[in-house]
């Protein structure tokens, strides 16, 4: 099975936590719960976490699986450099973001989930992992060569070389390169 990459799980957990935080926030604000300001913070934090966590990191070994349409997110997240690629920073960020959620019931679940995600990220950071963008688009560019448009130079059926003597008078329209030198007169 090999080494566990904790960041992979942390990423799933954080994304789920973001969604739960967001949902809790929406319920809190829509229902105008007591201290709904915390819920409003929950919406903002939830959206932010989702955006940050949506692009999956490249795996250090094996195939990396992208989320649908994560490419533009990857570019954005990559733009922040070490701020987003260091998992210590992420662990701290999530730990800080989850605190206000603990002050009202609607966002408590989001808060605890994000806290757990932060812990898993911490473990990932301790194991020396870091976020790396999955960028392989360019290599995948279509490489159907030019040749497909052009007719083959030497199309089959090709007789064995010794029989490839052409009629000399059709030399210009000959369909294939003749391996042997052809002279007009016998």
């Amino acid at each position: 099975m090999g080494k566990i990459e904790w960041a992979m799980w942390a990423n799933e957990q954080a994304l789920a936590a973001g969604l739960i935080y967001l949902t809790g926030g929406i319920v809190g604000v829509a229902g105008q719960f007591r201290d709904w300001q915390f819920a409003a913070f929950g919406i903002a934090a939830g959206v932010f976490v989702c955006l940050l966590e949506y692009p999956r990191s490249k795996r250090s070994k094996g195939t990396s699986v992208e989320r649908t349409g994560q490419y533009c997110f990857t570019v954005c997240v990559k733009a922040f450099g070490p701020l987003t690629s260091n998992y210590y920073v992420r662990a701290l960020l999530h730990a800080a973001l989850c605190v206000p959620g603990g002050f009202m019931l609607a966002t408590v679940l989001g808060c605890v989930c994000l806290g757990i995600a932060s812990l898993i990220y911490l473990s990932a950071a301790i194991h020396g992992e870091h976020w790396e963008p999955i960028l392989h688009r360019k290599e995948l560019s279509k490489r159907i060569g030019e040749s497909i448009k052009e007719p083959p130079q030497n199309p089959p059926p090709r007789p064995p070389p010794e029989h490839r003597r052409k009629k000399a008078d059709h030399l210009e329209t000959a369909a294939y390169d003749n391996p042997m030198t052809v002279t007009v007169s016998e």
Binding site: M1, G2, I4, E5, W6, M8, W9, E12, Q13, A16, A17, I20, T23, G24, V27, G28, G31, F33, R34, R56, R59, G62, V65, F103, M104, L105, A106, V108, L109, V112, C113, I116
Partner: protein, 564 residues
């Protein structure tokens, strides 16, 4: 349409039935709480959030009952053997156990979300009612109750002004267990995502054991009896008359003070049965863990493949089944599935273990360092556990498709067919077998080529050459392979496998293959068996549907897939 029913009819029926029960439960309980007169005053406090919390609860009960059943592997193999009629179709359903497990899990996740959100609203509304924010009726209802000493007939479970919703949730049984089991559920779900499950199985496997906390919490979740209904009093309390005059309650005979009581907790009745079954399952696995297993032979094959031939008392296998192996010297907790490669006719069972990860590496190293003639490391076996390929002999024509490591179950099948043939076993309905072997590189499967070679030779000797048609497809080839093959074009045997049948390069053209099989067997039932990746399964499933004919006299293809 007819083709589709042949292949998917029963699965679709099961899903529809399951969904139907879910919808029925949801609607029934929604109506029960939405119009039931005993909840008139409860709704006064909670509004629509009451039925929205209770209806998902009923669906959750049902699904939590189901979720454990598809993962009882021993129970399933018991069931597999005990169908009286239409076994083939029924058995195929059992192979989709994990799909069903996931389906049920998605439903649980969805219903948990609805249930939790509704209860968030409920707690807030209880709290606000007590604070008098919803008018005098709600305020009065919240103040009801016999006395702080007895404290049994109240309606609003929030009894004091000094508490807040968060504190209330964390100090009641229902609230606390609710939060804990929801957290357990979230962790289980995030760690069972495809990416995690496929790559870091340990994370998935160990986190999944939070289900113990989940079920314990679930059983006690209802014990707080928080949702309360009005009890029948003598004389009865007339809602429509009394609603507007709460100040007269208890003073005029039409309006006695309403009495409330919590609902009887039901969840445990739903889940206790499956919990016991699952416990038995785990006990059975533990007993299996304790049973001694002895080695008959250990063979280290080229390309670091280890063949273990094992003997265990009372062990009876069938083709294509698999076992779980546990080697306590490596880890007491890890069970790894391996497909058996021996035939039931043999007096031992064997597995081929390829070096693929930590566990297999440790095992192979341990075996390599064994002194001459010593027994191997002690090992426990759970199983045998069944999958679809036992049905191979029940079709007149079988198309076996093995991709990569997925050829292993077919080793057992081909061997067994051979034994059955030699003894002219009457149970063998099979008249013709097509075997397709797709792999990127054959190095790791030299042992399999060996096996095919032996079979090929023996079949030729008996003049049964037509019985088995096999085609090898090498998908990971390059120019050097092709050149090599060209040079040895006129040789009798293949250059890669040493078999009579030449290896083909690239992927099979399934349309062509199915067409051919249909042409050769115009009126047969053809079983298509795949052990390989999901993408290929989709392709083959479609082809099976496409090439089947509803006419009972024509060729029909049935698709079966091994699950790993």
């Amino acid at each position: 349409m007819g083709n589709w029913i042949i292949n998917h009819g029963l699965s679709a029926f099961i899903v529809v039935a399951w969904m139907g029960i879910n919808i029925f439960l949801f609607v029934y309980y929604y109506m029960f709480y939405d119009v039931g007169p005993q909840f008139e005053y409860t709704r006064e406090l909670l509004g629509a959030a009451l039925p929205w919390a209770r209806a998902p609860a009923a669906v959750l009960n049902f699904n939590c009952m189901l979720i454990l059943l598809p993962v009882c592997r021993n129970l399933l193999s018991l069931l597999r053997g005990s169908f009286m009629c239409c076994e083939r179709t029924m058995r195929k359903q059992l192979d989709k156990n994990l799909t069903f497990h996931k389906l049920v899990a998605y439903m649980i996740a969805l219903m948990t979300a609805v249930h939790t959100i509704a209860h968030l609203l409920n707690v807030e509304r209880y709290s606000n009612s007590l604070a008098g924010l919803y008018g005098p009726v709600a305020g009065n209802l919240s103040m009801l109750g016999d006395s702080t000493y007895l404290n049994t007939t109240y309606l609003n479970p929030i009894r004091s002004h000094s508490t807040n919703p968060t504190l209330f949730v964390f100090t009641t049984i229902a609230g606390l267990t609710g939060v804990v089991i929801t957290l357990a559920l979230i962790l289980i779900i995030t760690s069972s995502m495809e990416v995690i499950r496929r790559s870091f199985f340990e994370v998935f496997w160990y986190t999944h054991h939070l289900f113990i906390i989940f079920f314990i919490g679930l059983v006690f979740h209802g014990a707080g009896r928080i949702v309360r209904s009005q009890q029948v009093t003598d004389p009865p309390h007339n809602h429509s008359f009394c609603e507007d005059q709460p100040e007269n309650w208890g003073k005029i005979p039409q309006c006695p003070i309403p009495q409330f009581a919590g609902g009887f907790p039901q969840t445990w009745m739903w889940v206790i049965g499956p919990m016991i079954i699952y416990l038995c399952e785990r006990i059975l696995r533990f007993i299996r863990f304790m049973q001694p297993v002895s080695y008959r032979k250990i063979v280290i094959r080229p390309s670091r493949v280890l063949e273990l031939q094992l003997v265990k008392d009372g062990f009876k296998m069938e083709v294509g089944q698999y076992v779980f192996l546990n080697c306590p010297a490596i880890s007491r907790l890890e069970w790894h599935p391996f497909t058996m490669t021996s035939a039931p006719e043999e007096d031992f069972f064997s597995v081929h273990i390829r070096l693929a990860g930590d566990w297999t590496e440790k095992l192979i190293k341990m075996v390599e360092n064994l002194p001459e003639g010593a027994q191997g490391p002690s090992i426990s076996v759970d199983g045998p556990l069944g999958t679809a390929s036992e049905d191979v002999f029940k079709y007149e024509v079988s198309m076996l498709v093995g991709a990569g490591i997925g050829v292993t179950p077919f080793a057992s099948i081909l061997k067994s067919i051979w034994y059955k043939f030699k003894d002219s076993n009457p149970n063998l309905r099979t008249k013709k077998i097509y075997f397709y072997w797709l792999c990127r590189e054959t190095h790791a499967f030299e042992w399999f080529a060996d096996l095919l070679q032996v079979l090929e030779k023996e079949m030729e000797e008996r003049g049964m050459k037509d019985f088995l048609t096999y085609k090898l497809y090498l998908t990971g080839w390059d120019q050097s392979h092709a050149d090599h093959a060209m040079v040895h074009f006129d040789k009798d045997t293949d250059i890669i496998t040493g078999l009579k049948q030449k290896t083909l390069y690239g992927r099979p053209n399934w349309d062509k293959e199915f067409e051919e099989v249909r042409k050769d067997n115009p009126s047969s039932e053809v079983g298509t068996f795949l052990c390989g990746p999901q993408a290929l399964a989709k392709v083959l499933e479609k082809k099976c549907v496409k090439y089947s004919d509803v006419d009972p006299r024509r060729t029909k293809f049935y698709f079966n897939k091994e699950n790993f």
